[in-house]
């Protein structure tokens, strides 16, 4: 009901602004017409201020939500107010034929936009660097019934879909969930009740109620029957914490009993939106990127003590080491570079490799041999293959729209998730051949989904794919799909989607960890829920859902356990890395805890079987 009031307030404000329109008054106009020769520009009647606050990434200063309602002809100011990094202001969807659309800024900056809207309907803005920052403007014709969303929406991919379609409704529901933390799925409650107010929406003549998008389902947590080995680190990026103004923690889960060991909150450094993590060979340090900021944070895995926060550049997204020497690579999502740093307690920048103009690399991956960093260039729609020794980068162009995460296997193939597909395909994984530096094919993740009716006729149902790692045995690609809230499992030999498993709103991060007694678990974290999903990679089924909220921790003031993004299971299951750690076993360089984890691994998990293959493949280079 609160939302309803806010929306109606917004409508009232919009209607009431007529008298405030900055035209010279009638009296002035007649007597001073020939004297005043200036013509006023647009006065924005609404504003969306970009912030680092979870959900409120485009915040209406009048009521704090992310939606502004205006009349045709009105203008809205979109500006960056409380952000530590540079962003873009970019149309995600708009009304077909609207004047001065789409809005797009090539490069991240702090530039504002004052945009006039002529055509009634729904307009959604995002940032290309952080593509779940959403803000919406509804241009409502006061003479029609309900809030006008228009009959069609034009998507940034080029697709045009009716607002009555299933995909349009999914986008609308996702918009409200993403921008309203009170609607996030909280597993400390028995049910998830997504309750939207009953506001009439006019979909080009068809009037529906917003509450038709409501969802209600039980929240059931369950521990996997078989424990994992080691621990799982999850960036609960949206947790708000006492003593700091910026959100996020690194949450450490014990895989032996599925309980939370600790949360590293970074109060002293005002840790901001921690997004993704990696470690060194001995698992002493955790390296973590602040995606909405400029820093790489280093902390002690065992004690949680923060050793430093090094400024590395705009919007560092992912960090990964080269297995051979523990040196680090950081993708700078708000720039065009991969930064190379020394490892250890205090990483130092060494060099950087350019990934091409306006590239904005996001979730990069270092190949198992440490030779290449593969970058999905979110802003350029391409993939770069960066030779980490020579510093040379080769580009595979025209991969997809917002390629956001990539993963290379041991056979010179890489899989890249295109957040907005490869037009005309709505949702894709592209397969890249690293040697020939070409795209081999696009796998349609949504082949079994009808975007109009919403009917699914098979397992291929993944919309808006994000993280997409390859299982350590090379058999599967597991992809977190944020719009469909599904986990898709793709067979690497047939390139077919074998399974689609239920995920959570904002399904986002995936990585593999060791299952006790052999095999792997895929751990999946979601932005707008506070559970960690455990997928058994032997059965390709969900083995359990583990709580990421610590309800007893009074220092967590909001969004407890929410914002799941980067996932780092230890021991690192990836080949290339696990062997390096296994080599240190017995050398005295590993803690007793890490030694015990290694002791619990099977031969296959330690990577012995694959190392023969790796030597061969290295020989071919």
């Amino acid at each position: 009901m609160n939302k309803f009031r806010k929306l109606t307030t917004a409508i009232a404000v919009s209607l009431g602004t007529m008298s405030l329109t900055p035209i010279v008054s009638a009296e002035t106009a007649s007597s001073e017409d020939d004297v005043i020769l200036s013509v006023p520009g647009v006065m924005p009647v609404g504003a969306l201020e970009m912030t680092d606050e979870p959900g409120r990434w485009f915040k209406d200063p009048t009521d704090g939500d992310s939606l502004v309602v205006v009349k045709p002809g009105d203008a809205v100011l979109i500006k960056m107010t409380d952000v530590n990094a540079e962003h873009t202001i970019t149309s995600l969807l708009w009304q077909p034929g609207a004047a001065k659309f789409p809005v797009d800024q090539d490069k991240p900056s702090s530039a504002s936009v004052t945009q006039t809207f002529d055509k009634p309907g729904l307009y959604v803005f995002t940032c290309k660097v952080h593509p779940y920052m959403f803000g919406a403007v509804v241009v409502d014709d006061p003479n029609t019934e309900g809030l006008d969303l228009g009959s069609e929406i034009q998507l940034v991919t080029g697709a045009k879909v009716p607002t009555t379609s299933d995909i349009a409704k999914k986008l609308l529901r996702t918009f409200f969930v993403a921008t309203t933390p009170s609607l996030w799925r909280d597993y400390s409650k028995p049910n998830w009740d997504l309750k939207l107010p009953s506001i009439p929406l006019n979909l080009g003549g068809t009037v529906i109620s917003l509450d038709a998008l409501n969802v209600s389902m039980p929240n059931k947590l369950s521990n996997p029957a078989t424990p994992g080995v080691g621990e799982v680190w999850v960036n609960a990026q949206f947790e708000t914490i006492k003593g700091k103004s910026k959100p996020g923690s690194a949450t450490q889960v014990d895989a032996a009993n599925w309980t939370i060991k600790k949360k590293v909150k970074g109060v002293d450094i005002n840790m901001n939106n921690p997004h993704n993590m990696w470690t060194d060979r001995s698992y002493k340090y955790i390296y973590q990127t602040e995606w909405f900021d400029k820093r790489l944070v280093t902390f002690d895995r065992e004690t949680g003590q923060i050793y430093g926060a090094l400024t590395v550049g705009q919007s560092p997204s992912h960090v990964m080491s080269r297995p051979s020497d523990d040196s680090l690579t950081v993708a700078l999502n708000g720039e065009d570079r991969v930064l190379k740093l020394t490892g250890g307690k205090h990483p130092t920048a060494q060099d950087s490799v350019n990934t091409g103009p306006n590239s904005g690399p996001h979730g990069h991956h270092v190949t198992h041999d440490g030779k290449y960093a593969l970058t999905p260039n979110a802003l350029a729609g391409s993939v770069s293959i960066v030779d980490l020794d020579s510093g040379q980068a080769s580009t595979v162009p025209n991969v997809g729209v917002i390629p956001i995460a990539i993963w290379g296997d041991a056979t010179d193939k890489a899989y890249v998730a295109n957040l907005l597909g490869t037009p005309p395909l709505l949702s894709t994984l592209s397969v890249i051949d690293i040697k020939s530096k070409q795209k081999i094919k696009d796998i349609n993740l949504a082949a079994d989904y009808d975007p109009i009716s919403g009917k699914t006729t098979g397992e291929a149902y993944g919309l808006l794919p994000i993280q997409t790692p390859i299982s350590p045995d090379g058999k599967y690609v597991v992809t977190a799909n944020t719009l469909s809230a599904t986990i898709t499992i793709t067979d690497t030999s047939t390139h077919k989607v074998l399974k689609s498993l239920p995920c959570e709103p904002g399904c986002h991060g995936v990585n593999f960890g060791m299952k006790k007694g052999g095999g792997y678990y895929a751990y999946v974290a979601s932005k707008f829920a506070n559970d960690l999903i455990v997928v058994d990679m032997d059965k390709l089924e969900i083995a359990g859902r583990v709580m990421l909220a610590d309800v007893k921790d009074a220092d967590i003031v909001g969004n407890n356990g929410m914002g799941g993004q980067g996932v780092l299971p230890l021991p690192v299951a990836d080949h290339g890395w696990i062997e390096q750690t296994a080599k240190l076993s017995g050398s005295g360089q590993l803690s007793a805890e890490v030694e015990s984890w290694l002791g619990a691994l099977t031969t296959a998990q330690r990577g012995i079987e694959l190392s023969g293959k790796m030597v061969q493949s290295e020989g071919k280079h």
Binding site: V13, G16, T17, L20, P22, V24, E32, V35, I36, L37, S38, V39, P40, G41, V42, M43, P44, V45, G46, A47, E49, D60, P61, T62, A75, V76, L77, K79, M80, T81, Q105, D106, K107, S109, S110, A111, S112, V113, T114
Partner: protein, 333 residues
């Protein structure tokens, strides 16, 4: 001698009457006494401003009342010059060297306990009119709280002629204030001589301030110009021009531009077809650097040597141009 020993000795010295005699008394004697010229007789401006929200949720200053009492004792109410709503930029306050202003600020921002203030640049004021909080100025919270206005006193002393910004320094954050949300405005101090140098017909000459027909105030904030015209033909009538406007003048009219920066970005202001004097120099320019709160003020003769037309003005930083940071100087017959 150990360090702690030195510290002990120093602290005992610091509290000694000798030290008071040596340091504090001479300092008190050397206290700055404002020069008499500060109070040269001019007009007194009695102004009430209000900080209030705009429909967009931005904030603006609004003129509530402006009365000018001349040295001769006559009072003129000039409130009608201004918009009766809050604007971005806020009201342009025009003074002359020798004038003083008493400005009472009201906090008209609903649903807040945050103080709002007025911090001015360029003119003279004592520490109680700094418009900052006690944590910064060490004296007082110099801001308007809801229901508790605050009065500032500015002196446009000789040597303060120029165009200056005023802005909030307290709302939401005592270090920053809410200038970024629209709480900023312009103070124009005209020289007592009544003349400003300008490039007219290719030559440097002194222009009578009274001959300036229009004042175009252009604030450069991030990628937007926020404009205000002060029309001297209509006795200082102020016309809010909002974002990226068209400013207009007749061919040959002397008009004055006041370009001021705000925020974090650095700009290069360029006006097509016109040249002007870099203030204080004989250097002729058509583009000037504008950083946050730095400004340039210059007089041009509209269309001089180039005639009528829609003369473009814009920030010359490519990214800002791409974002639409531009407008027109429309010169008509």
């Amino acid at each position: 001698m150990s360090l702690s020993c030195i510290l002990r000795r120093t602290s005992s010295f610091l509290s000694s009457p000798l030290l008071l005699a040596i340091f504090f008394i001479p300092i008190a004697q050397a206290e700055y006494v404002p020069a008499k010229t500060d109070s040269v007789s001019g007009s007194t401006h009695r102004i009430t401003l209000r900080a209030a929200p705009l429909p967009s949720g931005q904030f603006g200053y609004q003129m509530v009342s402006h009365k000018i009492q001349t040295a001769g004792g006559q009072t003129e109410d000039v409130t009608a010059r201004y918009s009766d709503k809050p604007t971005i930029p806020g009201p342009a306050i025009v003074m002359t060297e020798g004038d003083v202003a008493e400005i009472t600020l009201e906090n008209g921002i609903p649903n807040t306990d945050q103080p709002v203030s007025l911090h001015v640049h360029g003119v003279h004021f004592d520490i109680r009119s700094d418009g900052t909080m006690k944590m910064l100025n060490g004296v007082a919270d110099e801001a308007a709280f809801p229901g508790k206005p605050y009065t500032y006193k500015w002196t446009a002393a000789p040597g303060t002629a120029g165009t200056w910004p005023y802005h909030d320094h307290t709302f939401g954050n005592p270090m920053l204030g809410a200038e970024d949300k629209g709480l900023f405005g312009t103070l124009i101090v005209n020289p007592r001589s009544g003349k400003v140098p300008a490039l007219i017909n290719g030559k440097i000459e002194d222009v009578n301030v009274g001959d300036i027909k229009r004042e175009f105030v252009l604030w450069m904030h991030e990628t937007t110009f926020w404009g205000m015209e002060v029309n001297n033909i209509l006795k200082g009538k102020q016309v809010p021009l909002w974002t990226n406007p068209t400013v207009g003048a007749r061919l040959g009219e002397k008009v004055r531009f006041h370009v001021i920066g705000l925020g974090t970005a650095f700009h290069t202001f360029h006006l097509h077809g016109h040249r002007w004097l870099n203030p204080g120099t004989t250097h002729v320019v058509d583009t000037v650097n504008i950083g946050p709160i730095s400004r340039d003020t210059f007089v041009v003769q509209a269309g001089e040597g180039v005639g009528t037309g829609d003369w473009h003005f814009h920030c010359h930083v490519i990214q800002h141009m791409q974002a639409g940071m531009m407008g027109d100087f429309k010169v008509v017959k």
